[in-house]
């Protein structure tokens, strides 16, 4: 596997590989997003208790799941970057961080919009909400830490280390609804048990989750390509690519 992966540690190969993937990822993300969200927001039956306002689940749940998925991806990249000293992995960390932060912010904002009609409050200090807020702070911390060093390489390494440290928050977010009596409900979709959500609502939700995942990959490819160009701007292949002298 390492033999197969090894060439992608080289920035030029990775740049072209991302470029090849990007159109497929973008198109399928867009298609899935349209399908899942239009199906979920317009064509699913209303909830017997929550009426139409539950429909925000089709944005809230995918963004919340993928905010953690993005963090896991970012931390894996950080792990690879620190253990095997691979430069492009550091850039991947920084490519993912703002996307993950945005997903987290979307999850928090849609959660607030959902909480207002259901719980009667925009925000309650329960464990799920608080730990998700900490996740947002961790993302912002990684971004801010990277910008604080005059030596870019040290900044990249230190922010990767912080990304790795923050992994401790992921199980806390995931299990917060089980460890504490939270106002936030438990999981409705589980792998092993029968989901406690009707199939007519489940399918568009699953498609939306997939859409957010593919969108994450597409945006990461896009940002990683830019990061490679910026960081390698003095290399001959980049100069040739952008048509400079």
């Amino acid at each position: 596997m390492f033999k197969w992966l090894d060439p992608y540690a080289k920035s030029e190969t990775l740049y072209h590989f991302c470029g090849k993937l990007l159109p497929y990822l973008m198109v399928s993300a867009l298609a899935l997003l349209l399908l899942g969200n239009i199906w979920g927001l317009a064509f699913t039956p209303a909830d017997y208790q929550q009426g139409d306002s539950y429909r925000i689940i089709h944005i809230h749940v995918p963004s919340a799941i993928m905010s953690m998925g993005a963090y896991a991806a970012m931390a894996s990249a950080a792990f690879v970057a620190l253990i095997w000293q691979i430069k492009v992995a550091h850039w991947a960390v920084l490519a993912i961080a703002p996307i993950g932060a945005t997903y987290t912010a979307i999850a928090l904002i849609t959660g607030m919009a959902w909480g207002k009609p259901m719980w009667g409050a925009w925000w309650v200090w329960d464990a799920r909400l608080t730990s998700e807020l900490i996740l947002l702070f961790l993302y912002l911390g990684v971004i801010a830490l990277n910008g604080a060093f005059s030596d870019r390489q040290v900044g990249a390494k230190v922010s990767s280390l912080l990304a790795l440290i923050g992994v401790i928050n992921l199980p806390i977010i995931h299990f917060s609804v089980e460890w504490w009596n939270t106002l936030h409900q438990g999981a409705s979709i589980t792998k092993f048990a029968r989901p406690s959500i009707d199939p007519s609502m489940l399918w568009p939700l699953l498609i939306s989750i997939l859409a957010f995942a593919v969108l994450l990959m597409a945006l990461t490819c896009l940002r990683l390509r830019t990061a490679i160009l910026v960081n390698e701007q003095h290399r001959p292949w980049v100069r040739k690519l952008v048509g400079g002298q």
Binding site: L82, T130, I134, F137, L138, L140, G141, A144, L145, A148, F149, S150, D151, V154, G155, K157, V158, L161, L162, L164, I165, I172
Partner: protein, 220 residues
């Protein structure tokens, strides 16, 4: 052996730079005395907000003390020498953390009766506060040593350190203040203390490793 030499050095430095640890203590007292002035000296009100106020003041004063933790050692090359030499970096980190706790956490613990007096805490809550400070301040020291090591070589360390470390303090703040609150209502608080102890042990096992790798990264 090596640890004790490092510890002696840290303590000697602290003895020579008294402002580094006295100012955060003063800051702690001043922040605490601002609250009764800000929200009004109503005893019942003070008793309700006391647990949170005490811990927020403690967090901020430890944060204040940790900003310069590694800065001088970094600037004058001590850390570079340690990384380059064959001394145990872990011993250095542990000594640093322990010295930090001795100079910031322990004084907070000793000051806690005075604090209880200022905020009108009851006897029962005083014990809970002392216990949470006993378990919580070493954790604070570990986390702030970590933050300080991460931002050691950063150009604008101060505010960045606060941004990184304050979110990590949140779980500690929640459980510590809920323990004091439970005690002041006459309820048991062993559960919160057990979680604080668990967090402390987990941090003690993992944080020193993170700090040593942060130090290595910063001088590489």
């Amino acid at each position: 052996m090596v640890s004790s030499i490092f510890l002696q050095r840290e303590l000697r430095l602290l003895a020579r730079q008294k402002a580094d640890w006295l100012n955060p203590l003063l800051f702690f007292i001043i922040v605490l005395s601002l609250f009764p002035l800000g929200v009004g000296p109503e005893p019942n009100m003070l008793r309700i907000i006391a647990p949170g106020v005490i811990w927020i003041a403690a967090l901020l004063s430890v944060l204040l003390a940790s900003e310069r933790l590694f800065k001088d050692d970094y600037r004058n090359g001590v850390i570079e020498q340690l990384v380059a030499g064959r001394q145990s970096l872990l011993a250095f980190v542990l000594a640093k953390t322990f010295a930090n706790w001795l100079s910031t956490g322990l004084p907070l613990l000793l000051l806690s009766p005075v604090v209880a007096l200022l905020l009108g805490l009851e006897q029962a809550a005083l014990g809970a506060m002392a216990l949470t400070l006993l378990l919580g301040t070493p954790l604070l020291s570990l986390l702030s040593v970590m933050g300080s090591a991460l931002t050691m070589a950063a150009d604008k360390g101060g505010i960045l350190l606060a941004l990184l470390i304050l979110p990590l303090y949140i779980p500690l703040l929640i459980f510590a203040s809920s323990a004091i609150e439970a005690a002041s209502m006459g309820l048991g608080y062993q559960g919160q203390l057990a979680i604080l102890l668990a967090m402390l042990l987990l941090a003690l096992a993992l944080v020193p490793m993170a700090v040593t790798s942060a130090l290595r990264i910063n001088v590489s």
